[in-house]
């Protein structure tokens, strides 16, 4: 089973939003998705409690560093996807989750602070690859981006690409629907209209498609 770990030691980078958008879009596209809520703030659990979960999605809460590997392993079957949402701190839970990942996604806002702190996750993945003697695919996605990219955004993107970092395009834009999903639960097809819903769905779907391509080796 592909295990996708959403990791950044920076809080407020958009990890839980990324996890939910990715999980709901992949489930909508036909995958069975298990989402592991490893964040003590219980963002995914709160989302799951707002309304009934979309089809083919399960959310497991209260995963800690002593149970993370067991939880991932116990769901390790073909045809399914596990998404691990982590707390925005540098913890042993993060390094253990990465050790079991097929793909690590680091969401970051296009700011110097996010990029600087997010880079710690990139370094950790690189060293874990060496220590565990296996490749761990890794990618960065910008979150909460504006329609017009700032100079800072372009500069950080160029710097990451220049260092060989896989940057997922499209980024996840700042959209009312993405934040409203925590208020209403469900997915982008079930929540009441919030701003440009077609744009939001297309954005989330295109992002998820790019993630899927990386899982299958097409990206």
């Amino acid at each position: 089973m592909p295990t996708i770990v959403i990791a950044s030691p920076k809080g407020g980078a958009g990890k839980s939003t990324t996890a939910i958008l990715l999980g709901t879009e992949l489930a909508h596209a036909g995958a069975e998705v298990v989402m592991l809520d490893c964040d003590p703030n219980r963002s995914l659990t709160l989302w799951a409690s707002r309304s009934s979960l979309p089809p083919r999605i399960a959310v497991l809460s209260d995963i800690d560093e002593s149970s993370i590997i067991r939880q991932i392993k116990s769901r390790d079957t073909d045809g399914n996807i596990v998404i691990v949402d982590l707390e925005g701190v540098a913890s042993r839970l993060v390094s253990r989750a990465i050790s079991q990942a097929d793909l690590v996604i680091t969401p970051m806002r296009a700011t110097t602070l996010d990029a600087t702190i997010g880079a710690r996750a990139l370094q950790l993945v690189a060293e874990e690859e060496e220590a565990l003697d296996r490749s761990i695919q890794h990618a960065v996605v910008f979150t909460m981006t504006k329609a017009v990219k700032s100079k800072q955004h372009k500069g950080i993107a160029a710097s990451l690409v220049g260092q060989g970092v896989d940057l997922i395009e499209p980024p996840l834009m700042e959209r009312a629907a993405f934040s409203a999903i925590f208020e209403f639960g469900g997915d982008l097809r079930s929540i009441p209209p919030q701003g440009n819903m077609t744009g939001a769905r297309d954005n989330a779907r295109a992002f998820s498609e790019q993630v899927y391509k990386r899982l299958t080796g097409e990206g």
Partner: protein, 98 residues
């Protein structure tokens, strides 16, 4: 892009990959994490015996042989002497109610 052009997943392509989860691998992962400041942050469980709920205290002086017998009985049963006093008090209260 729209719902007319849906993104569909080919489940056959989502294959499981073998990932080592042995203690050795976990230990290596922990070491690498610690090097980068990804350290244990889970709240530690309190070790040792839980505090006793018996916070009351009586101040009883008894005859030496009674003290010795209470001590021996408590040791034999593996309980604190206070437990015997509680039991004796229960019997006393029960006798008062009859």
């Amino acid at each position: 892009m729209s719902e007319d052009n849906p993104f569909r997943i080919d489940l056959g392509k989502l294959r499981t990959r073998n990932k080592d989860a042995s203690l050795k691998t976990v230990s290596r992962s922990d070491s690498v994490g610690e090097k980068h400041g990804f350290v244990e942050r889970a709240p530690r469980k309190k070790r040792g015996r839980k505090p006793s709920p018996r916070t009351g205290q009586v101040h009883a002086k008894v005859l030496p042989d009674v003290a010795r017998e209470i001590s021996e009985e408590a040791k034999r049963r593996g309980v604190q002497q206070g437990v015997l006093i509680e039991e004796a008090w229960s019997l006393y209260k029960a006798s008062q109610e009859n």
